[in-house]
Amino acid sequence: MKLTKAFMATTALTVAGTVVMAAGHMADQMTIVSWGGAYSASQQAAYHDPYMANTGVTIINDESSSEAVAKLRAMSEAGNITWDLVDVEAADAIRLCDEGLAMEIDADEVLAPGDDGSTATDDFGDMLVNDCFIPQIVFSTTFGYRTDMVPEGVAPPSGACDVFDQETYPGKRALNRNPVANMEWALLCDGVAYEDVYDLLETDEGQAQAFAKLDTIKDDTVWWTSAAEGVQLLADGEVFMGSTYNGRLFSAIVEQNQPIGMAWDWQMFDLDGWVIPDGLSDERLARVLDYVRFATDTQRLADQAKYISYGPARQSSAPLVSTHATLGIDMAPHMPTDPANAENTFVNNYTWWADYRDDLDAKFQSWLAQ
């Protein structure tokens, strides 16, 4: 029976094909997951290209960082980790570490010491937020505004609290559609002292106070879900003022000459870095560790700042930050950590959010839906 045989063969091929595809992971090749866009480009130029030239290892970019946590969990459950290194925010690193999906590392053993002779632990300092996280950059969520829409005779906005000031600055606002940062800004701009913000947010009264403050601008706010949207809304003149990541604003202002200004006050610092998936084979792990040691040394971290205005996570890299790779402008004034920009700042309290995110997110979404 020819036909039967043909179909049996097809079936066998289908099954075999799946197995072969699953098993394929070539030697001397590494899949690195990141955020895409200008950020990945800066990593490509500062880390990947020199590393590939030095070692001959091929690096494959995967732009899946925004769903890295879910995908890593699925891979781990399927027992087939296809990623070698993943770029995530500190908050996600905590989730991944808690879930046992990221590998715990010993910073001093895995990471290179600083150029100034300090140990990796000292050089990174507080940035090592847990045992899995390998910090890379400091970025901030801050505000941009349309310079051409500032009312006449009024000083341009200087920071987050101007978002709530509709008398001076009428117009639409853009904010992130999740509680992180918005809840803190609401309290800070309602006169709560920085030290008390997170304590107060744990209480029902504190949450009510924050929502009441956000209520004052709710009708005028466009809520974005991806950072690119935040910038686009500003570039289109859809909103007068909006929050987004400082690097995105930098590229809109400096590289694309949009009429946008920065309002730095009460910017929220956040960290981004690598985690190594748990359960890599020894051979792959050795390759990744070699890359990580190279890509997070003092010079490499400083190099990345040539391409994007995010601050290097090592103290020893700060003095090496120089000028933009193509525009030649000095990068320091565009860094979130520059003293002129960092008068009032707060740090995203990742561990606090790890506890309260589920609860506050339910309340926030319910508040939005009202």
Partner: protein, 537 residues
């Protein structure tokens, strides 16, 4: 008695026929086998597995089994914080969980139910190492043999494991530890935690129990066992050691395990923490389904979520209402187009068909983003209206980032799914029927409504089912243009899958959505009849 009919080859005809039929069926099965296997592997099994998570809750019982057992008869009314026995059981469970790096996983699971548990487990994990250290020191002070791994192996291991271990040449993995049969009766707590110790030492640390001193909590368990049963008789030299140790126990300084946990984090003194653990200790739970309809599981039964956390019922209703609205708009906009397609001369109809199909072939994201450009306040439509003076410049229409935006964009995107089945049905209605109706004196409207329209209902039915079912699970378009009032339940499901990692809740929401679609399909079948639906000819 009738004679059995025989086939040409002499076999009974019935058997012969059956055989031929069976072979035919087998062949048919083999023809669809590749598809069947593919669908099973990539569709049915994963979906089933995902839906199973909506009730699965084994993580609690698997990670802290002793605590779950000890908590079973804890009554929060009588005793706001559980007693020392629960804390002692918890210390042992946590020790194992920390070594296996599972305590933080349990913490994030329980944090879905009560905020703060995530860091409570994370913080306490670092301290659990030291719990019971006092007992370990005091046992070693009575006789240094207690600190010797060999003593423990003699006490705990089955003789056949000792033999196998001795025969092991160090190549490959050490033989798996086997607990002695009698020790489980003599020292039940100690045996159970020592077995965990041996298992974890072998699997996680790749060390041998013969060379590792047991965890501190093992000494805690030994103290408890010996205090509970001082007359225990154990054979051999280790039995003598036990017997010699028992009289000394009275002089031991007792450790306050509860105080140790509270010192790590005073959250362990809160009743709500223990109530949450107790409520969610069963291996299967309806908690996710309750959460998915704004209810919550409390120790006193099912209750509504606080009003400021209720969202899912609103979202389910909104998803249904907006999907109905989108379906109706698709009918209103699609019917005339389908009619034109069916009645125009072939050349013009083909041209029109291309216009319908062109957006159908364009990427979904591109079309959604295009709507953004058109609809936003500084967008093309608003600019045009302002230019014509129909809308004041400072009072532009809000057409996007709300329900209006979602309905407009989704109607456009789903329109081809309405037009195509409708067209294929309308094309089969002979134009002569309309002419006949008119020649018999019907007005244009009567002829359409009484003669033409009833014949097009199967097409409307097919289009509506397609559009409605696609709309109800839509995700990308509402996410981009929906703002806050135009998002669907699927956007929340996506959030729980990719951000909060609460897959149980996501699965429960998905299961409810699936059930709703099936229910509507069933209702549709009862009212309209699924046989009346036509996708063509």
């Amino acid at each position: 008695m009738s004679e059995v009919m025989l086939a040409a080859d002499g076999r009974p005809l019935k058997a012969s026929l059956n055989r031929a039929l069976r072979r035919q069926k087998l062949r048919a099965l083999m023809l669809i086998a590749p598809l069947l296997i593919f669908i099973m592997l990539t569709f049915i099994i994963p979906i089933g597995q995902m839906l199973f998570r909506s009730v699965e809750n084994q993580i609690v019982g698997d990670t802290i089994p002793r605590t779950v057992a000890a908590l079973a008869d804890w009554d929060a009314e009588a005793e706001p914080v559980p007693g020392e026995d629960v804390f002692s059981a918890f210390a042992k469970d946590m020790m194992v969980a920390v070594e296996l790096k599972q305590h933080t996983r349990l913490g994030s699971r329980l944090n879905y139910e009560a905020s703060g548990l995530s860091s409570l487990f994370r913080k306490s994990g670092r301290r659990v190492d030291d719990m019971g250290e006092g007992y370990a020191d005091q046992f070693a002070a009575v006789d240094p043999a207690w600190a010797d791994p060999a003593t423990w192996v003699t006490l705990m291991a089955a003789p056949r494991w000792v033999e196998r271990q001795a025969a092991w040449d160090g190549e490959g993995a050490e033989p798996k530890f086997i607990l002695s049969a009698s020790i489980t009766d003599d020292l039940p707590q100690t045996a159970s935690i020592y077995a965990d110790f041996a298992r974890v030492t072998q699997s996680e640390d790749e060390e041998s129990p013969t060379e590792e001193t047991p965890w501190n909590v093992v000494y805690l368990a030994l103290f408890e066992d010996l205090t509970a049963n001082p007359d225990v008789q154990i054979a051999g030299p280790v039995g003598d050691l036990v017997a010699a140790t028992v009289p000394q126990l009275a002089a031991f300084t007792q450790e306050d395990i509860r105080a140790a946990f509270v010192a790590a984090d005073d959250g362990w003194e809160e009743t709500r923490v223990w109530k949450t653990i107790q409520t969610y200790s069963a291996p299967y739970t309806d908690g996710y389904f309750l959460n998915a309809i704004d209810l919550q599981k409390t120790p006193d039964g099912v209750a509504w979520q606080p009003e400021n956390e209720q969202i899912y019922i609103t979202l389910f209703l909104r998803t249904m209402m907006m999907s109905v609205l989108i379906t109706v708009s698709c009918i209103l906009l699609g019917y005339p187009v389908a009619w034109l397609l069916a009645n125009l001369p072939a050349r013009k109809a083909n041209m029109l068909m291309i216009l319908v199909l062109l957006p159908f072939w364009t990427s979904l994201l591109v079309r959604t983003s295009a709507w953004k450009v058109l609809l936003q306040q500084q967008g093309v439509i608003n600019d045009t209206l302002v230019w014509f003076g129909l809308v004041a410049d400072d009072n532009r229409l809000a057409l996007i980032n709300n329900a209006t935006g979602t309905i407009i964009a989704m109607t456009h995107i789903l329109l081809p799914f309405m037009i195509l089945p409708l067209y294929s049905v309308l094309k089969t209605i002979p134009p002569s029927y309309l002419r006949a109706a008119k020649s018999l004196g019907a007005t244009n409207w009567t002829a359409f409504w009484r003669v033409y329209f009833p014949q097009s209902v199967p097409g409307i039915g097919a289009g509506s089912i397609l559009v409605f079912i696609i709309a109800i699970g839509y995700y990308i378009t509402p996410e981009i243009v929906g703002g806050t009032k135009g998002v669907f339940i699927s956007n929340r499901i996506a959030y729980h899958i990719s951000t909060s990692l609460n897959w149980g809740l996501a699965a429960a929401l998905g299961a409810i959505l699936l059930a709703m679609v099936l229910l509507l399909y069933w209702a549709y079948d009862r009212i309209v009849g699924i046989d009346n639906v036509k996708l063509g000819g």
